[in-house]
Amino acid sequence: MERSSPTAALPRILARFGYFEGMDGIHDLGGMSGFGPVEVEPDEPTFHRRWEARAFALNALGIRVLAAYNVHEYRHAVERMAPAHYLAASYYERWLTGIATLLVEKGVVSLAELEARAGGRFPLSQPAAEVKPDGVVIVTAAEPRFAVGDRVAVRDFRPAGHTRAPRYARGKRGVVAGVGRAFELPDLAGHALPAPAETTYRVEFPARELWADAAEAGASVVVDLWSSYLEPAP
């Protein structure tokens, strides 16, 4: 699918310099404006329709039985949905789309067969960006680098691929409130790349640091962040 025109190559060139806002995706909703009231359904059942429960089960099949993908790839597949589709889809439609996208990409099933059997279009997620490990990892550290009370800053970056550093926290300063366990870095694991375990940190940010003049008084947010997302702050 490579094209030689300079316009088509531009996103890749920009990505190399960190300019492409590839995965500042629609899923990264924290702090976005314009959303209305939260509707609570009394006595809500776990599943509203039988197909939702079945889609839920199929993800366990894809991860554990077929071993076709891991949970990070699954999350990224949902994140790669077209923004309008993502917001319009119900929760389990997003599951179904993520699972089907991965099973098609991994060659387990074909889109043509899915659409023939469904009797209509089967919208999948958009293709993943190409991610290179050296563009992601800054400090892979299984041993803790920070202790409770340390001041840290979240690196400011615009990932082309999967990340679990929410956009609203990037570039912000906080204090380590808890040292978590070590887990594989999602930015690599989400692209099926070897991902060493890194210590995670629960970092507390005062509301003012995140939301400036829109902040509420007496509020803070704790974000769970991997070592590679963080640097020491003065």
Binding site: H27, D28, L29, G30, G31, M32, S33, F35, V38, E39, V40, E41, E44, T46, W51, A53, R54, F56, A57, L58, L61, L66, V71, R75, V78, L87, E93, L96, A100, L103, V108, V109, S110, E113, L114, R117, A118, G119, G120, R121, F122, R164, A165, P166, Y168, A169, G180, R181, F183, L210, E216, A217, A219, S220, V221, V222, V223, D224, L225, W226
Partner: protein, 193 residues
């Protein structure tokens, strides 16, 4: 030229789910789907978390163990709070209220809170809670006094959270089973107190 498929409506989502199962065919082991659904109904229930809270309200030593290692303490009651992840329990006090969200998807400690309700998974909750927790909690029926700080926990990593609510006044004589009945899923998430 426009892709002709773009002019067609997507198949109904039920039909898409069925198509995926049919395309997988024999790669779905017999009864796998039904067993997984049953297993979810048995293991993923907020009433597990309610029992953990009731024990913590009744037994100070258990409470200390729960706050030190949520997963291990929950396992004492036979609950597997989380799978590959681990559980951190957040203690409400007279001057602090904790509330949980997952802004990027909808991660939850299934083993103690259950599979999350639709409102928790909604874009509205995910977008608004981190930015305007007091205003949103007030809309949802919880007006926090100014003297109570609110701490929002974004489940952005593999750590899973459960709120340990304050024991309601006037419940001194109640046993664990009765106490557990007082605990709602909303309290374990932190949109009720």
């Amino acid at each position: 030229m426009k892709d002709p498929r773009e002019t067609l409506e997507p198949a109904p989502v039920e039909a898409r789910e069925r198509a995926l199962e049919q395309a997988l065919g024999a790669r779905v082991p017999a009864d796998f789907v039904e067993r997984r659904i049953e297993q979810a109904a048995e293991n993923f229930d907020y009433r597990n978390g309610a029992r953990v809270v009731a024990r913590a309200w009744s037994d100070p030593a258990f409470r200390a163990r729960l706050l030190a290692d949520g997963g291990r303490a929950s396992a004492e009651l036979g609950f597997r709070a989380a799978d590959r992840e681990y559980l951190v329990v957040l203690e409400n006090t007279d001057s602090l209220h904790n509330v949980i969200v997952c802004t990027q998807c909808s991660c939850t400690a299934w083993g103690v809170i259950g599979l999350p309700p639709d409102w928790y998974k909604s874009p509205e909750y995910r977008a608004r809670l981190v930015r305007e927790p007091r205003a949103l909690l007030r809309e949802m029926g919880l007006a926090l006094p100014e003297r109570v700080a609110v701490r929002v926990w974004d489940t952005s990593g593999e750590t899973r959270y459960m709120v340990l609510p304050l024991r309601p006044p006037g419940t001194e004589g109640l046993g664990e089973a009765k106490l557990a009945e007082l605990v709602t899923r909303e309290m374990l998430i932190g949109v009720a107190r």
